[in-house]
């Protein structure tokens, strides 16, 4: 067995960066799916693969955490971050699979807008994760967190617009059931990105 030259602590940062990249990849695939909806889309398989890989990364982080005596930041924060990042991918994959189960045959501009906001959030989470690893500029890290919070507010507004439209006039109740869940789940993924930003801010303050 070769001796690792990378200090063990850095391994955590690398795993979080890998996980953040899974988040971006999932959000990207879902954005593509929302723009070019088709039940035949290869994005369904792509999302399933990403979800599987993200699962493995989560287990690696938790396993490493359980085996480590020294960690680069609080154990609870590592656990929290790992589980929040896993939730983002799970939510995205699960929405795509529900849309298939519900025999959804089209996308909407509101879904495209929500998917785009989510994708921007995951991009900012990735940048924050890289900054956390480099620990060069906390100022920049905080800016990413603020941007993620701003995006979540935008997502919440967008969800309001989507729901208000959905309930207007005399809608088909079945469409309401399906699309309410789809819109809400994508917005929940954005809330999870905000949770990630809050966890990272907490880590920074403690290192203060």
């Amino acid at each position: 067995m070769a001796i690792s030259l990378i200090p063990k602590e850095e391994k955590f940062f690398e795993l979080f960066e890998a996980q953040a990249r899974h988040n971006v990849a999932a959000a990207q695939a879902f954005k593509d799916l929302a723009r070019n909806w088709s039940v035949e889309s290869p994005d369904f398989d792509k999302l399933r693969d990403i979800e599987h890989e993200a699962d493995i990364t989560t287990h690696e982080i938790i396993d490493k955490l359980n085996r480590s005596f020294i960690t680069p930041f609080d154990r609870e924060d590592i656990h929290e971050l790992a589980s929040e990042m896993d939730d983002v991918v799970d939510l995205i994959q699960s929405v795509s699979s529900r849309m298939k189960l519900y025999h959804v045959d089209h996308s909407t501009e509101d879904l495209v807008a929500l998917a785009d906001i989510l994708w921007q959030s995951t991009e900012n989470v990735l940048k924050a994760t890289i900054e956390l690893k480099n620990q060069k500029s906390n100022r920049r890290l905080l800016d990413y967190c603020i941007e993620i919070n701003r995006l979540e507010n935008a997502g919440d507004q967008q969800l309001g617009i989507a729901l208000s439209k959905l309930f207007s006039g005399k809608p088909d109740p079945l469409e309401v059931i399906k699309w309410k869940e789809i819109y809400e789940s994508i917005e929940t993924a954005s809330v999870k990105c905000e949770d990630i930003a809050n966890t990272i801010e907490g880590i920074l303050v403690k290192q203060g």
Copy 2:
């Protein structure tokens, strides 16, 4: 910078009391709204303001927690309490905003009953929080916690009545979708009050 004469530990209790007051204010505004339903009601703005202030208080607590070496009780319990109290206000404000988005044009006696139970719970949470600060009588504190548990059971019963009515006969599915969510969310806020009571009971037991 002036030197604070209030011991730092007490600050936590003051922040929790402030947060409990936000909970009562939100439950009160929602109760008023449920009694005198109107899309023009000033209670919508009031709820938005309370939610904003509660958010600031939550951040103050978490920030103070992250910066403090010594805390009046377990760190996890402070974190738990802060997040549970924040959830109560969030849930209440979010229901009011959903009712607007869903173009709801009336209230029901079941909503009034649920809102009243929730308001009573928040009143008892406030009393418990003040007692926790004074630390004079654990007996009285436990009585408030027992009352909050009793109220949650009453809320659960009331939700059952409301749902059974909602699903009776041949209801409009759209009304079912809207009111099921409204009733359940208000009851969930009561469950959060019960969580708060459980967290407080845990703190008492640990202090032995």
Copy 3:
């Protein structure tokens, strides 16, 4: 007061085993109900009783945890395990009570299948809990955890089949609202069993 001859640490294991037995009993009663659906079934009262007893056991565990300085494994893990096990019983009892409130007048083969998978999961959780107490064979314990994970995947597949059927053709939206919640809640109980397995695996890893 008699002096207990059982070391205090063992008491935790006994309480977890008792709780796991409540889980099995609840899953068994629900499986019977799903197979022989009747609003007059004695299983409703049975489920209410089990839920009440499980509640008492949960409080015993939490109370014991709050009073103990030394615990057989990490405090957070004990708390997590207790709350996850309580959730399983709560979810099962709550679904049965919702089915009554929704005036459901029949069962489905998909519900029977989901209930059967859940029952198998609780059986494996019980076996894992007994193994954890005896601490004889970690290999066997891990096998139970792997089986619980396999069952959760089977449950997820089964839920997909049930939902796809439910949304096929032109279904009655009220039936969709009811059955979507029923199916999802039973699958959520299986996910909770998987959470229990993950918590147990974490305990094992930490014990090295």
